[in-house]
């Protein structure tokens, strides 16, 4: 059993399943339903296989490592090394893929006779196989190849709904940004190659001490930009809010829940594993970047009324929170405090897992809503809880989990992140203390703002009266969609309640990393795993809180319902309307709900108001015909970063164009000059 899964053979089978799925659905593209069946079947089979493989590797604690391909030409060899960390990411990828594929069976039916299901299946499988290979690759060149497979496959998934011009634009932005990121990654890998003479991760790790610190610092900056672009760190996030909504919802869930985590994986791998020992400022820089991403991500989410863009901005926020855990891990590791570093890493990994579950849950429920209402604009929803009760319930669970409300899983990973930050505040006495304080403060405010944002998202979408006729035609979605959502909702609760067990295993994953060998754990208490605790400093028990809350709920409900005044009469009436007819326009809108927060943070968000009045009598302006007010948020990154960059590049290109005279003699002289300069350098 173990040999079947946890071996190079098992890994081969895993890839084969996805490749067969990809090719098969392409061959079956003539029949939509067959392509759907084939693609979903192999995606589910493959992800179950991956789940078993990853779990087994974690549980038995064996590293899976092999190389195939042409030994004579190492550049083209396929070098795979799966330790517990990689296995953990395989588990996360497979788990979310499994559920998204189940959801997909029903969800992609609305693409029938509109788009080719065969090509969807092809890119879907390539995308998943790419992600699994990204976390398994142990060689720079091989990594870059599979990284590109993942990026390009996801690009095609983003532009899948290609009749909408916005999606094509979003896809192009994504393509450009992801390749800019890849360019930075290539630079950093080349630098490492230059100083170690190899592309193998193992060699990088072995000769880490030989790399000069200045080069390491450059590699850090380059890798941070490169992988940060994929992870969606502000200010490299611009592609994320437009690309994630454009993809089909189950793919959005995968991109937001899993794909951006591959950036996090590589940050952990390179900074915490390969390049040890590291300077302290790396961790502190990651903390600052994480705090800013978390806070700005949630602020931008608040201003959104496109439900999928809102969720996409929350991905930026949660990546920021993961980086807070990772940043404290890096800081503690560099200061030789491995126990606390392990705490930070466990927090980061746990939040990775949790974010993957609740963010996919939210994307899938948003997808169900969009499927029924044919709109992503929250202002056109309202009252959906009566038409789609189960979807509403799942979205509610997701909202509570992402807002870090106990006993759902989001709370416990944020709790661990807070503990890591608190330890930094308590433990340091120099400027690092202030950075940890800034990070903890931003996490605290992020939590509060996320709560506000999800009250808005849930309230405007599901509560009150319908704001459009589309809503009144909405029905509960089909079985496979419901199954996918329910599975994730249950997982969100279970990961919360069993957080004590999970942290126990996450610690095992952490101690597998070179820097943490043989570290005494402070996070979990193996004898009493219902509790997560951090030394004597603090402890919390998910099962106890859950049991207490549930029993209090039942008790209160029972007493109020059956003991006090059980013959109470309940009549249904209209909402108090102050004597007018209550219309849906009187309900609070998504924009209105967030307006006060937007105004409070106007220094950051730069909101703008445009009034336009049209008059019957345009000369004297006494009788207005119509008034419009446009509220918008200025895209500061576009204005202050990307636009100047673009003009700069264009201006530079125009200058460079000057040397292209069209004269062959001139070109030959350029070649000659270049040759002479090169010869000068070589000799």
């Amino acid at each position: 059993m173990i040999e079947l899964f946890a071996s190079s053979f098992g890994f081969g089978i895993l890839l084969t399943l996805f490749v067969v799925g990809a090719i098969g659905s392409l061959l079956l593209r003539k029949s939509d339903s067959w392509a759907n069946f084939w693609s979903s079947f192999f995606a589910i089979a493959g992800s179950i296989w991956g789940l078993v493989l990853g779990t087994l590797l974690i549980v038995i604690g064996r590293d899976l490592s092999f190389t195939t391909g042409m030994a004579a030409w190492p550049l083209l060899s396929l070098t795979v090394h799966i330790d517990r960390l990689a296995a953990f990411f395989i588990v996360v990828i497979s788990l979310i893929t499994l559920i998204c594929s189940v959801y997909g069976i029903g969800y992609i039916k609305h693409f029938y006779n509109q788009y080719s299901l065969g090509s969807l299946g092809l890119f879907y499988h390539l995308f998943i196989a790419g992600m699994i290979l990204v976390v398994s690759a142990a060689n720079g060149i091989f990594f870059l190849i599979v990284w590109e497979i993942m990026s390009i496959a996801s690009y095609f998934l983003v532009v899948y709904d290609r009749h909408d011009e916005n999606n094509v634009k979003a896809g192009f932005l994504y393509l450009v940004m992801t390749h800019v990121g890849t360019a930075f990654i290539i630079f950093s890998f080349l630098l490492l190659y230059q100083h170690t003479g190899s592309f193998d991760f193992a060699n990088w790790q072995a000769s880490s001490l030989l790399i000069p610190m200045s080069i390491k610092n450059v590699v850090f900056v380059l890798a941070m930009i490169g992988f940060g672009t994929k992870a969606g760190l502000i200010p490299f996030h611009v592609w994320l809010p437009s690309a994630h909504p454009a993809a089909p919802s189950h793919v959005s869930a995968l991109m937001s829940g899993v794909m951006i985590k591959t950036g996090i994986y590589m940050m952990i791998r390179i900074f915490l594993d390969l390049l040890q020992p590291i300077p302290t400022w790396w961790g502190l820089a990651v903390l600052i970047i994480g705090s800013i991403s978390a806070l700005l991500g949630v602020l931008y989410a608040l201003t959104e009324h496109d439900i999928k863009r809102l969720l996409a901005y929350h991905s930026i926020e949660n990546i920021g929170i993961i980086l807070l855990g990772l940043g404290s891990a890096l800081t503690f590791a560099s200061l030789n405090m491995p126990t606390l570093a392990l705490l930070g890493l466990v927090a980061a990994l746990f939040h990775t897992l949790n974010h993957a579950t609740f963010k996919s849950l939210l994307f899938l429920s948003a997808g169900a809503v969009i499927n029924q209402t044919h709109s992503r604009n929250m202002e056109e929803y309202g009252g959906l809880i009566k038409y789609m009760p189960l979807t509403a319930f799942c979205f509610l669970i997701g909202s509570m989990a992402i807002s870090a409300l106990p006993p759902f899983n989001g709370f416990f990973s944020e709790w661990l992140t807070f503990q890591a930050l608190f330890s930094g505040i308590a433990g340091f006495n120099f400027y690092a203390k202030w950075i940890f304080m800034f990070a903890a403060g931003s996490l605290a405010f992020t939590g509060g703002l996320a709560l506000a944002c999800f009250v808005k998202a849930f309230g405007v979408t599901f509560l009150a009266r319908p704001r459009s006729t589309e809503v009144t035609h909405a029905k509960e979605v089909s079985f496979s969609l419901r199954l996918g959502m329910i599975l994730l909702a249950v997982l969100s609760l279970l990961f919360g309640i069993f957080s004590g067990y999970l942290t126990f295993w996450l610690e095992k994953i952490g101690t597998n990393i070179g820097a943490f060998y043989q570290i005494k754990s402070i996070v979990s208490v193996p004898s009493n795993q219902g509790i997560i605790s951090v030394g004597n400093w603090s402890s919390v028990s998910a099962p106890a809180f859950f049991a207490l809350l549930i029993s209090a709920l039942i008790l209160v409900w029972f007493i109020v319902r059956f003991i006090i005044n059980k013959n109470q009469k309940v009549t249904t009436g209209a909402t108090w309307d102050c004597g007018t007819d209550l219309t849906p326009r009187m309900e609070i809108t998504a924009t209105g709900f967030a307006r006060s927060i937007t105004l409070i943070f106007q220094g950051i968000l730069k909101p703008s108001i445009q009034h336009e009045v049209e008059y019957h009598d345009s000369m004297s302006r006494f009788l207005p015909k119509s008034r419009t007010i446009v509220l918008s948020i200025q895209d500061v990154y576009q204005t202050y970063l990307y636009r100047p960059l673009q003009t700069g590049i264009t201006a530079l290109s125009l200058r460079v164009k000057g040397i292209q005279s069209g004269n062959v003699n001139a070109y030959i002289s350029y070649i000659l000059i270049t040759l002479m300069i090169l010869l000068f350098f070589v000799l």
Partner: protein
């Protein structure tokens, strides 16, 4: 014996909380040269509301119907998880500072959703205001509890109350600053002046009342009661974490009795301060409130940096 003490701990919050609402109203009335209703009036009000029939909006969903129960249950759970009259009870399961903060956030979450559910304009803006205030209060709340946790060397509330005096005498200034920050959060979270006016139904000013406008009968009773519980919880936290004198440190009945009396005395002082504030100053304009909440956060940042 232990069971009875835990039971007392469990029911202390819901039983005692309404009294202090009555006390605040009484003090306010006296300050306005009125006789005022009896301090037991809130109990009669709740009893009356529990026996009334209900009207539910036809636009409302199960969120509207179950939110009062959830909110009330959460305040009961939180009330049972914080030190009230004794610090020797130990609870390392649900007495962490963060789980208290985020458990109270559950009640805010459902209160705001219930406010939006009936689809009235009042409920919507009430929820919006409530979420704005509570989002900005979160930083001050967590950091004030963090300050006291750093002073005491643990985040467990019972242990903080236990080691409190010894630890605080060494870092007096941070404790006082953190208390200042905490008190601002207390006013914000319990919908008191200068954040909210608990005795008005004016659409320009109301926050908490706007959200519960559509509830009636038992649901209104539970919501009012939960609000009283929340006030009691915050006052008890303020009393026992920042001024942990007189709290029972042993299991003897005398110590517990003293603990209860001292707790009530301290909360009465809080009530008096709140009543005086409400009688002597005006409510702030809504967009001035963030300044106050940021002050609460900054006070705590200063406090943490002062801890040696």
């Amino acid at each position: 014996m232990m069971i009875f003490i835990w039971l007392a701990q469990l029911i202390c919050t819901p039983i005692a909380s309404l009294l202090f609402v009555g006390v605040i109203k009484k003090i306010k009335a006296r300050l306005q040269n009125r006789q005022g209703a009896s301090i037991w009036q809130p109990y009669r009000d709740i009893w009356k509301l529990l026996h009334k029939d209900e009207v539910i909006s036809r636009d409302a969903s199960w969120i509207f119907r179950f939110a009062p129960i959830i909110i009330f249950a959460v305040t009961v759970v939180v009330g049972a998880s914080i030190p009230l009259f004794s610090s020797w009870l130990s609870n390392n399961l649900t007495s962490d500072i963060l789980i208290i903060v985020y458990a109270l956030a559950i009640s805010t979450f459902f209160l705001a959703l219930a406010g939006m559910d009936a689809g009235s304009a009042f409920g919507g803006f009430g929820s919006s205001r409530e979420m704005t205030v509570s989002a900005l209060a979160e930083g001050g709340f967590i950091f004030s509890l963090l300050t006291i946790a750093l002073v005491s060397g643990t985040t467990n509330l019972f242990v903080i109350a236990n080691v409190g005096i010894a630890a605080q005498s060494q870092s007096f200034l941070p404790t006082i600053l953190a208390f200042g920050g905490f008190f601002i959060v207390l006013l914000a979270e319990t919908a008191r002046f200068p954040f909210d006016n608990p005795s008005t139904h004016l659409e320009l000013t109301m926050i908490h009342e706007a959200m519960i406008l559509e509830h009636s009968g038992k649901k209104l009773a539970l919501l009012e009661w939960a609000a009283a519980n929340k006030l009691f919880i915050f006052a008890a936290l303020g009393a026992n974490l920042f001024f942990p004198w007189g709290i029972a440190a042993s299991a003897s009945l005398a110590a517990i009795g003293i603990g209860l009396i001292v707790l009530f005395a301290k909360i009465l002082v809080f009530c008096f301060i709140i009543a005086v504030i409400e009688s002597s100053m005006a409510k702030f304009r809504f967009f001035r409130l963030p300044d106050l909440l940021v002050i609460s956060f900054i006070l705590n940042v200063v406090a943490i940096s002062l801890i040696s």
